[in-house]
Point group: C2
Chain length 454, copies 2
């Protein structure tokens, strides 16, 4: 008898699950796989949107790893412009609206994958529904913003919120010739970094010519008679704005799951076990809509990042076809390019370590990306956080120029393995003058923190 | 009573030990520290020599991290142009020749650090003592070769042996306008890599315009009437040569230790424990002259690399002053830039895994250094070797362009922690389009090998 797997959401989490399941069960008469996606795009790189807006990537199709047609050629029944509007667990079916025709029908499933993603936060600020104010999460959002830049030729842009996506879009819009302001309610951009590292990012943005307003929140958006945004008002100023991008983070899309009675966790995202199974048998979840376990803090987190979505989707695709795979959790690794700076983090920041109840020490060192005498040696700062008594490495942050950020991976693997910083300082990392000083900066930082632990 | 620490050898291992000891015991009336160095240089980057020969680094002083004068200002009695010619363990003294004045005298020690380094291998090939044939290990060697290029304006260079230093010097000489040939007796350059990876390196050298002759050994060097080398003769050809560089690896300088009865290991290098103590109380060793434990094979290895010398020297400096530090061994991590390629390795190659008795599997994947759509995305190949039954990651090799090689560090930390490849494939490594595809190439390779283990 043919089993039927239904996937809600056609991006990384959902389609990776579908593709993996098909690879393990090639015959559609054994397993029918149907995926519903409300936009026209599947399997795209949301992380690439800022580079499309900034015209570093010219064609939106370049961001699409696999189109609906390509999925269909691989035996997946992908239905774009179809929105799932309800999950009926008792009936083992979903209610689907065909956005083109406008009608709805029920689609049965044996197994269900919820991969509904996340949406940009839109707090109830006065005027936030004016035209020209964009959250950017789906590729369709990206196309909309790019079109607004290409067609309307806006002069002034304001980015509200200095997270990764906000900063990347600020730089993209600056690149397109707009006068860009960034409004961040915290003391520094990139609130997921500690303040000393974040301050360097603010400097880099200003050096590029972006106006940065810290400790200021958008209190009101003013629109013209046509309802199009014209300014962003804070407690201190009014900033002209032809285009506003919201960079206030995202929230998981859980309305469907919640309405169906599928449990949510304390982060507000869908709860799964390590196999990415929800507590409801046969119902799986993957991607930006799920809660993950943070391996260092031990607590739940909701991290919207394509690399997790892909890994989780693969785990679902294996398990839903009778295999055994686990998603072992996250440690909060992230990287971004901001102007000429590369910024990266993994594990816990000082603030996060404190919140998780650790007694910790931290140190920051300055070094260079290559041997000091080698052409192109660039400054790099590495910060390491460790548990005071045990020396266990808890977190690392890096800011620097070309060649700096990917070093965070060595720190990430060390943290993943709960290594003490004294041992990290002894690691056999690669050394040659074009790549590193004789003591790799990550080792130097670990050693400095180890001295504080002793 | 003043103790006296004598250091033999003024480069990384010895001077790091001396500096660390001085830092922990600042008062010379508590601890006198005397270092003997036969050349005029201290604390230099031997790894930087090819870039000095190639004129990427213009001033030899740029390769000197700390000059004798700077060491003296920090309370170290550094005597350059002084060669230790004998160690008298019973008398607790060393016999030292002043190379300037030509006289010798005995210098007492309480503790002794042997950091005599390594020398280029000079096999007994007919004619190898002709003028113009250089091994390059000390900074003085580097100055000699550079002067030969600057002054004699040689036209043809032959590099004999395709190890890291040989390749880096081949590229340096090519950069200086010489017509360069490489003669390698193995099937590919970089014998420390597996053949499939090494073959790519040969391609890169040829693309640059270097003539590469594989499976050929130098059988004879021919000199002119003045005794200066004029050609390198192999079984197949005679290559014109105004300058020859030997890239046949190095051997540890152990004559002093051996004559004194200090035990050597099976690699021919000096044996120490984890504290870098030889079996003779109060006699320590560090750097290119010592044997290290390979944490994956479990066997002894002699690896001449500045990063190990620095770490070992620091361990000695701590222990010799009453502290406790260990050097936990190596895993064979190395990286090099060859033309436009970056080449890196860690752990065991297939050949080394076989020699160590592992039943292993291996796989190689191709990916890109950045998201495929992001400008500057460059090809990268990653090979991973794992133990078949356990899945334990044993080794990794990377070849690629800008941004490829430093990824070896994530693999190195995984191997250090004896992670199974299936777990490596789940690691939370950093992802953003300017830095990586959504699946980091190291993860993809680990996953491919994990599938072979299952």
């Amino acid at each position: 008898m043919t089993r039927r797997l239904v996937v809600i959401g056609g991006d990384a989490g959902g389609m990776t699950a579908a593709a993996r399941a098909r690879r393990r069960v090639p015959d559609p008469s054994d397993l029918e796989i149907v995926a519903f996606e409300r936009t026209e795009f599947t399997s795209y790189s949301a992380c690439g949107i800022p580079y499309f807006v900034g015209d570093l990537v010219h064609d939106v199709d370049d961001l699409v790893a696999r189109s609906p047609q390509e999925h269909r050629q691989r035996g997946l029944d992908v239905r774009t412009r179809h929105e799932v509007v309800a999950i009926h667990l008792d009936a083992r079916s979903v209610r689907v609206r065909d956005l083109g025709r406008g009608d709805e029908r029920d689609e049965p499933f044996d197994d269900l994958v919820i991969a509904t993603g996340a949406s940009p936060r839109r707090p109830p600020i006065d005027g936030i529904d004016a035209a020209g104010i964009y959250g950017v999460q789906t590729l369709a959002d990206g196309v909309t913003v790019r079109r607004a830049v290409d067609d309307a030729r806006p002069e002034h842009a304001v980015v509200v919120g200095g997270g990764y996506v906000g900063l990347e879009l600020a730089e993209a819009l600056h690149r397109r010739g707009l006068r860009v302001s960034l409004v961040e309610m915290g003391a520094h951009p990139m609130p997921t970094l500690d303040e000393d590292i974040g301050a360097l990012v603010a400097d880099a943005l200003r050096a590029l010519g972006i106006d940065v307003y810290l400790n200021e929140a958008a209190e009101r958006f003013e629109a013209d008679a046509d309802g199009h945004v014209r300014s962003v008002v804070t407690a201190s100023r009014s900033l002209p704005a032809d285009l506003v991008v919201l960079g206030l983070g995202v929230k998981p899309n859980v309305a469907l799951a919640e309405a169906a009675g599928i449990p949510l966790g304390e982060t507000g995202a869908i709860v799964t076990d390590e196999r990415m199974s929800t507590p409801v048998p046969g119902v799986w979840a993957a991607g930006d809509c799920v809660e993950s376990r943070h391996r260092v803090s031990g607590g739940p987190v909701n991290v919207a990042l394509g690399t997790h979505a892909n890994k989780q989707g693969r785990v679902v695709g294996t398990n839903v076809t009778g295999g055994t795979a686990v998603f072992p959790g996250v440690i909060g690794t992230a990287v971004s390019k901001v102007c000429e700076y590369e910024v990266a983090r993994t594990g816990l920041t000082e603030r996060e370590a404190a919140a998780a109840g650790f007694d910790f020490v931290a140190a920051t060192i300055e070094s260079t990306t290559r041997a000091g005498y080698y052409p192109g040696a660039a400054p790099i700062k590495v910060k390491v956080v460790a548990e005071r008594a045990s020396g266990r490495m808890l977190g690392a942050q890096i800011v620097g120029r070309e060649g700096a950020a990917k070093r965070i991976d060595a720190a990430a693997v060390a943290i993943w393995n709960e290594m003490p910083v004294a041992e990290v300082a002894s690691l056999d990392l690669s050394y040659a003058p074009p790549f590193s000083p004789v003591w790799d900066p990550v080792l130097v930082a670990a050693r400095k923190v180890a001295d504080l632990c002793e």
